[in-house]
Symmetry: C2
Subunit: 251 residues, 2 copies
């Protein structure tokens, strides 16, 4: 990579935006301290972002502007699988009373494109746009299982296989073996591998040979066990994935 990339000023603006997102609203001084940058520098960036209407100045304090909603919607709409699967995800959540979600891969991580919580489902602090490790969730493994070995290697190399819970798969060999099983079965399981107490089942959504994403059904281990975990949920997510695939071809 040449000398003048990344562009320092742009990198800083991105860092400022990210940090800004961690606050509700925040002043220049606090933001500058958090980022370990001079106040005047942060100020110049904020004023630039404000003039572009990407940031809002609320009486001296700053916050993210809703222009990012627009960019986010466009980023999401690029993925046809969103429109194709959204309805199925909502239906799964409603039918089971648990949590259902849609994940895609990007930059070697999983990104939630959509989530739906059924009535009485546990509340998990995750949200649209959240990024997770692929190896640590049924959703992620379902996607990995559909990628060529070389891409899986690249992702593992880039992101590693960090431990998330006691059950997380952290060995490359073990992961490969599991991905092979998943590819055959068409369903992936997650037994408290990402979050303690949470089990989930996921199925990949294909467009021909290519995995576009995956759908899941997740709930607390106290409610998800036995046949419900091993039979009912797999059948339901597989159905939902098939329905989404059908929607994809007719649109």
């Amino acid at each position: 990579m040449s000398e003048n990339v990344p562009i320092k000023a742009v990198d800083r603006t991105l860092a400022i935006l990210q940090t800004l997102g961690e606050y509700d609203t925040v002043g220049v001084t606090a933001l500058a301290e958090d980022l370990d940058l001079p106040r005047s520098t942060v100020f110049n960036h904020l004023k630039t972002l404000e003039s572009g209407e990407y940031v809002v100045n609320d009486g001296g304090e700053y916050r993210l502007g809703s222009r990012f909603l627009e960019l986010g919607a466009k980023a999401r709409d690029f993925h046809d699988v969103y429109e194709a699967a959204r309805g199925e995800v909502s239906r799964l959540a409603e039918e089971t009373g648990e949590i259902s979600a849609l994940l895609i891969e990007e930059h070697g991580l999983g990104v939630f494109l959509y989530r739906s919580e059924g009535e009485g489902s546990v509340h998990i602090d995750s949200f649209t746009g959240q990024r997770i490790y692929l190896h640590g969730a049924a959703l992620g493994k379902a996607i990995l299982a559909g990628l060529p070995e070389s891409r899986v290697d690249g992702i593992v190399q880039r992101r590693g296989l960090p431990t998330l819970t006691d059950n997380t798969v952290t060995e490359r060999d073990e992961l490969s073996a599991e991905l092979a099983e998943i590819a055959e079965a068409g369903v992936a399981f997650d037994d408290e591998e990402r979050l303690d107490g949470l089990r989930s089942v996921a199925a990949p959504i294909y467009d021909g040979e290519e995995v576009l994403g995956s759908v899941s059904l997740a709930g607390p281990s106290s409610r998800v066990y036995g046949d419900r975990f091993r039979e009912e949920f797999p059948a339901k997510v597989a159905d939902a994935a098939s329905a989404a695939e059908l929607n994809l071809t007719y649109s």
Copy 2:
């Protein structure tokens, strides 16, 4: 404003992001031509954005990354009115079979925070995050009616009162008169003022003395007329707004 704001490099990155959003995926050359910038400059910006994982490189072509989903969700979550009103908006759409939406004000424009389409509703090409003129819609006028005169002046001065359809209110006096009516009635109307063939009714959502946003109900003039337009819809949006206000205080 001092000489070194806006920061040119940041401004360019913002322009690149915006233009990027207008394409599905796009190459460096096309993007550079669209923006009238040298290819190498655009390239440097794209590579910087890519290294920050805000942009995705799909085999030479680029597109917006889903990190903006995350920023967008955070920008939206800042507005408590979103959580408070979302359910009501969905309910309105479901009950009437028409379109319902939630709008807030930002930088003198209206921003859709949420939208819901009932079964059989007309499909309008608008989306979460879309920005509209406040004077040209029931939603916007409902908000304007709740702002102090000085702020309305500021907004009109900044954004003007451009003509959107033959019915758009484009005179400052006329707008003032209508805002006064709206403030009294608690409901705003839009009779094909923003889009031909579309009528809508909106009510403001207050937190004490302050307007936080507005909810609307909209449909084609062929279905929205007479008592439905003048009685039923106003009653429904007012109810929804009240319910949202209640949700705000108990959360």
